[in-house]
Point group: C2
Chain length 464, copies 2
């Protein structure tokens, strides 16, 4: 074969390209990922940090990675918070009586045993609430009635989740007794959406719950009728002592000069307690395992080490991500690429990255292999992968398989996150894309360079 | 105007046709029905027979009919059964532990306080269960895993509902301890579907519950894994003493020679306890009220009396329908047409009927006025309207606005039956069709004739 004269020195070898195409096409026929997520969701199910399901998931993951034949399968200890939602009862009491479908936000305190009953103050945004005085807010249950936008990018979530994370802080500053938010989700069915919240150190710890969209409609109707509107909350949510969990790891060891370099494929093993954790993040767990399995089974041992990391407790404080960065602080610079699959089970439509200038050509090479999967080329400003945060700020390059999130927030963090929401063909496509990216990253002559460390962002609820 | 020479003597007058077109077009712009169902679902909400919501609904209906200006607004006493579902906890205990989303079927007995835990026997149909011996079934919880078909006609419901009504009878005959069915519904979300069941007099009263489709998948996966599978049920469902409810009635009195003839527009005021009763049957209640209101407000007083009947307790034994037939036994023959709206909020796509041969021409005349609403002409064998049953067997002609039921059984009898499931434009179209049919039936020179009385069918669970 005659090589084109304008061949970039860092173009992939024909062999690597051909191997990657084989992986891609194999995955599209049947990546094996659906079988993995079916096993996880059916046999383990809900697995929130510290729960019995969490421990069962760790066992499941070790067995799964071992049975596939990965090397160095192990759990690395992670201490996790253990919050239990107990029972919750939310009732509109005035101007008419109605039991509302609600869920405690993850980490919320409970109520006194007799519950809290108070008049409702409705606002549509945090900034509206910030403009109110203690006199106006004090003694009320604040209802933050923000409707999350449905977008392919999932971009409506950040504004909605900010209310989830900060609503009770801003309300408590003004003497509110509790907050009730419209779910940070897009489901048009009657499910309330949980997710993490945190207490500000200085403010009172008030209970925070979310209503389903239909139930938020009922509460809004009551308030807008002009009649005095009261609500009663009763919750036995509480913290239990911290618990032990694990990041579960398996590897395909590299060979040769670059064997100590690491291509990290991540997903999180935990889920919220309500659903089965199928799309969040069973799909990601299955896709990274299946992608690595395809490479393992190809018989072509990679140059660099491919490391599958199933993180503990992404959902409620990123305990696993922090523990991993600490445990592996001595080899952070050997992480030449990280990719996390934690965006559900929609099709990948864009390859984004955050790599050094010198690594962009390699991203292009990968994209050329992914284009037949209907994947566009994105920009180089990705911040994807919550579990990759500590590694990213330390300068690790990342790749992102951006998935269609139009329907993701219909299921995410709700009881409705079940296996039937996953289309196996989409999961095969995701797995194909990850397998190609990992294979190229692990075998290319060049790499993605390294980025300068940056300051980790600190989130507060002080201002918008 | 020159009359066409081939005019059928029973063709509608131009005036009646024109008035009907005005009603139709007004309804299409805004029938007022959505506002009515919004009020019922928001301010009253769940209203199962005998509950506080039932009583609130009766008050609401009387006020609504009076405020519109109907005549002879009244409640007619109906004694209703009062069943309370209490709490239910269904857990798969072996081969893995999982809380399942389930609901007691309406009328089910509870369990002993400690619950029932037993191995699971899975069948896919009643006939499969019938072929089994007591030896095979005894001591088990029988899981009837029939998947309801999604059809525009809603036709998958009869087979699914038959399992709901008879499954526990056939299982109890063979010594089963309880039955668990896959919901008689098509929702792909995590909702279990309730609905009435009855006990056979001769067999043991065993608890009967339904699982959501996703949870039935989990149970099926467990059974099909080949591992021994056990389930635990705990339910405090029970009967309370019978309660009082009412059929709520309002009229537009006819005038002239035919004033004592009655055009009955029916819907049922009760709902199941889980959802808000928006599509079942708030939509029907709103459509018949709004249709009659349009006629009332047109200022054209009808020849025949238009009677709106909001039946009590359709869902759990048709108490209201039976009471109405008894209360009005002296005027059954004056019911010249009955139409019940109880098929959700999908668009009407077909006009069906059950009228005397002599009345078919009048149905054609009505259809001509409905054709612009994309309504086809159906056959003359309708048996629509559960509440019309006693009147239909006595010979009353009926009209049926057949609605698209493709999505109806996603919501029907579930917690997800909420206002947001109704598209106001569809409700306007339904209301337009009913207004036209009622206006013609109340004013046409001819009528639908009368049918010979027939024997009421008796349903049993003895055979398929």
């Amino acid at each position: 074969m005659i090589m084109p004269t304008n061949a970039n020195a860092r173009d992939l070898s024909d062999e690597l390209r051909a191997e990657s195409v084989v992986l891609r096409e194999k995955a599209l026929v049947d990546s094996g990922a659906f079988e993995i997520v079916a096993s996880l969701t059916m046999e383990v199910g809900p697995r929130s940090a510290g729960s019995a399901g969490d421990a069962a998931a760790v066992l499941w993951a070790k067995e799964m990675l071992s049975s596939i034949g990965f090397a160095n399968v192990r759990g690395e200890a992670v201490t996790v918070p253990h919050w239990d939602r107990g029972t919750l009862d939310v009732r509109l009491t005035t101007p008419f009586s109605r039991l509302l479908v609600a869920t405690s936000l993850g980490g919320s305190t409970g109520t006194p045993e007799g519950g809290i009953e108070a008049p409702v103050l409705r606002v549509e945004s945090l900034s509206e609430l910030r403009q109110m005085t203690s006199e106006e807010v004090s003694g009320h249950v604040v209802f933050i009635d923000h409707v999350m936008a449905r977008l392919k990018s999932g971009g409506g979530y950040s504004a909605a989740a900010r209310i989830r994370v900060c609503g009770h802080v801003v309300a408590a500053e003004r003497g509110a007794l509790a907050t009730v938010i419209r779910s940070a989700g897009t489901s048009t069915h009657r499910f309330a959406h949980t997710g993490s919240m945190l207490y500000d150190l200085t403010e009172a710890r008030i209970p925070a719950v979310a209503l389903s969209n239909a139930d938020a409609d009922i509460l809004a109707h009551a308030v807008q009728s002009g009649e005095p509107t009261s609500i009663r909350l009763r919750s036995s949510a509480r913290y239990l002592p911290d618990a032990q969990s694990s990041n579960v790891i398996g590897e395909i060891p590299g060979q040769g000069a670059n064997a100590d370099e690491i291509v990290l494929l991540g997903a999180h093993l935990d889920s919220w307690d309500l659903g089965m954790g199928a799309i969040d993040d069973g799909a990601g767990v299955a896709a990274v395992i299946a992608a690595a399995k395809l490479i393992l089974n190809s018989g072509n041992r990679p140059s660099r080490t491919i490391r599958v990391v199933l993180f503990a407790n992404e959902e409620f404080g990123l305990s696993g991500a922090k523990a991993y960065a600490l445990e592996h602080s001595g080899e952070l610079n050997q992480h030449v690429m990280g990719l996390e699959a934690d965006s559900g089970a929609g099709p990948v439509w864009l390859l984004a990255s955050r790599v050094a200038e010198s690594g962009l050509n390699l991203v292009d090479q990968i994209h050329a292999l992914l284009a037949p999967l209907n994947i566009e080329r994105g920009d180089n400003s990705s911040t994807n992968g919550a579990d990759l945060g500590p590694l990213r700020v330390a300068g690790m390059p990342i790749l992102e398989m951006r998935q269609d999130n139009t329907e993701y927030f219909d299921y995410h963090h709700t009881i409705d996150d079940t296996l039937d929401k996953i289309d196996p063909k989409n999961l095969d496509q995701l797995t194909a894309a990850i397998a190609v990216a990992a294979n190229v990253a692990a075998n290319a002559d060049g790499d993605f360079g390294r980025l300068a460390p940056v300051q980790a962002p600190t989130a507060t609820c002080v201002a918008d």
